[in-house]
Symmetry: C2
């Protein structure tokens, strides 16, 4: 599976203590996930999540959590640098496997960050505890753009491929392996704003200004598109070579219908098309938080699965998406603070509303810091006990 | 007009510098606005905004901005306490009139805060520069609730009525006068969480837990409902006595369809019903930021106008609302960082998509700190020059 994400912590859940990262607000997630086209790819042991994403008959909805994690906090204390945790193969593997070892979800997602590619693009950044991401030299002019280096994944982020290879062996086809990348507009927003932003006024100033500056904004978007496509292909090759999947994301709560149409949709579609040309059977998931007003447009990207945020009623979301795309989501992460009876009831309600098949059960947002671990365990237990 | 709001700064725009308040994140806004039923109420000089809210024929959409303000920053330096600015009659009047004097909008909104009623409910709070609202003793148990005093508007917040009376004379029927209050669940969220919150895990823990605690949460909600209704009535009486309108709000970006159905809709509906019994012609506006997935449900509250946030395409929002309710909004506040040509084009696009009549032009969120003042002036100039 492949995903496009926009949060630095989007690949791992923070079921115990995620305080150090809690200020880094996730944005518009697009997840592109997929698996192999090779002859032997689809077999009896194919992970449930892949089958559901492909619309095949399954006995229950597969389940995983966005930002799922195990004993993450302990690891944060030992390795306080987020970049170290997300760029060191051993740590990436360890963190990615934590939830797998504890909860056996149907999907194991690579621990990474949407900003990870920036390290290979001459855009220095850090992710600071309590502050979130910081881009040291925000890119706001054509001259700034000139300094940006073309992204070559194998050279710049070799640990990603290496970690995927190890994870593939560890998970051993018992679950789907998911990767993820941030979508073009999301990354452009970070590098223009200089980090997280509430109103995105700097990138909007560029995007909504006179043609010359607008061109600069567009150039960014294209630039990131061109950088992401090869990365996603590297990811995809790694995943498909290993007969495994991947995930991908963009910024959304701030994505007006029209802005989505202009600045996100065309590039997402190009990325999906590019990946599908070489990896036609790699399911792609798109997560767009805050996209309640855009639901009908999301399948136009060509993804296989649209992940709904929790503000949308699953029955209405399922209907608005149409029958050709699978759906992921969308239990309110706040439900995991409720009673076990309440959690059970909401899981069943969501699964019932999503309908039989083409549904990957998940939260409608990343798991929240402070969520009781026993409730996460209960969530997985109930979900895995369901049968259509 | 009457509005229900959830932001401390929701009644005033921050077109120049709103830094001191920028960290106080607005939530789910519901605006209930209205005007008089008295025989002489509807006359030739009736403000455009009232006529549009009532579905009467108008030559152009009326226009005002959420959080509109004039030289607010200068005033903030002189009076650094937000509570002083929002609770002192002279300051409330001065701030409320600033945008009126500069831009002559079709609506003048009372400068106030959704937390204002707390001062009369024995719930001590402050709004701290750079931090937002702080509730000193968050309410989380039934015992805490016992300490909450019934809210008597005339005794606790007399400055609100006094300011409205002065504003009424100053505006002199040339524009609609708007008041606003926070909706029950919004206020409950603040007092339970202790201030602004990202995930609302504390109130969700209460709301989603075993019956006993759930009852507590429900009691809160009812409590606030009961406190808001009389306030809104006081507001309404003041406004209608002066032949003028009002506005009202609740929390939304975090309002899942189902939570809205359970925790917001019934109370909002009761409030609307209560106000309408005594002030049947007072138009009520509901603003629910982040409600792209809930649009069809918003008119069920019984309000006259639904304010759409900027993530929704106006044509789709208008269609999803149905023909019986007026619509407010919803230009992206980021557009005001763009070129004048771009601003003009987006205004026209929004007005065209909203259709003729039953539309109040506004942003789809409060105006953003740092918005160029000349662009705000341009926004009003273009909007007021439009004709259907």
């Amino acid at each position: 599976m492949a995903c496009i994400y926009s949060s630095s912590v989007s690949s791992i859940s923070a079921k115990l203590n995620f305080t150090s990262l809690s200020n880094h607000k996730p944005r518009f997630f697009c997840s592109l996930g997929g698996a192999v086209a090779e002859p032997k790819a689809v077999n009896a042991t194919e992970p449930l999540l892949l089958n559901a994403a492909r619309g095949k008959e399954v006995e229950r909805p597969p389940v995983w959590l966005m930002r799922q994690a195990g004993s993450y906090q302990l690891l944060c204390e030992k390795h306080p640098s987020f970049r170290e945790r997300s760029e060191n193969v051993d740590l990436v593997v360890e963190i990615s496997l934590q939830p797998w070892e504890v909860f056996k979800p149907d999907g194991v997602i690579l621990f990474s960050d949407i900003l990870t590619p920036l390290s290979g693009m001459n855009i220095p950044f850090d992710i600071v505890k309590g502050k979130g991401p910081i881009i040291f030299d925000p890119i706001r002019t054509a001259a700034d753009v000139e300094k940006v280096r073309e992204f070559t994944p194998d050279e710049s982020v070799p640990y990603v491929g290496e970690a995927l290879t190890i994870l593939r062996k560890e998970v051993n086809n018992e679950a789907a392996l998911l990767g993820f990348v941030g979508a073009p507009f999301t990354l452009a927003s970070y590098v223009v704003e200089g980090g997280s932003s509430k109103h995105f006024s700097k990138i909007k100033r560029l995007a909504f200004s006179e043609p010359k500056v607008t061109f600069t904004a567009w150039f960014f978007t294209r630039y990131f598109k061109n950088s992401q496509a090869p990365w996603l292909n590297t990811f995809s090759t790694k995943l498909t070579r290993e007969l495994k999947p991947f995930r991908f994301s963009t910024r959304g709560p701030r994505n007006l219908a029209r802005r989505f149409q202009e600045f996100s949709l065309p590039y997402l579609k190009q990325i999906v098309d590019t990946v599908k040309r070489t990896h036609p059977n790699l399911p792609l998931i798109l997560y767009a938080s805050g996209s309640g007003g855009l639901i009908e447009r999301l399948p136009l990207t060509g993804v296989d699965v649209v992940s709904l945020d929790w503000t949308v009623d699953m029955a209405e979301g399922r209907k608005r998406l149409g029958p050709n795309v699978a759906v992921q989501g969308n239990v309110d992460p706040g439900v995991l603070f409720g009673s076990k009876e309440f959690i059970t009831e909401r899981i069943k309600d969501t699964v019932r509303k999503a309908g039989k098949g083409k549904h990957i059960l998940n939260l409608g947002h990343g798991i929240v810091v402070g969520t009781p671990e026993e409730n996460v365990a209960h969530f997985f237990e109930v979900a895995k006990g369901l049968r259509y």
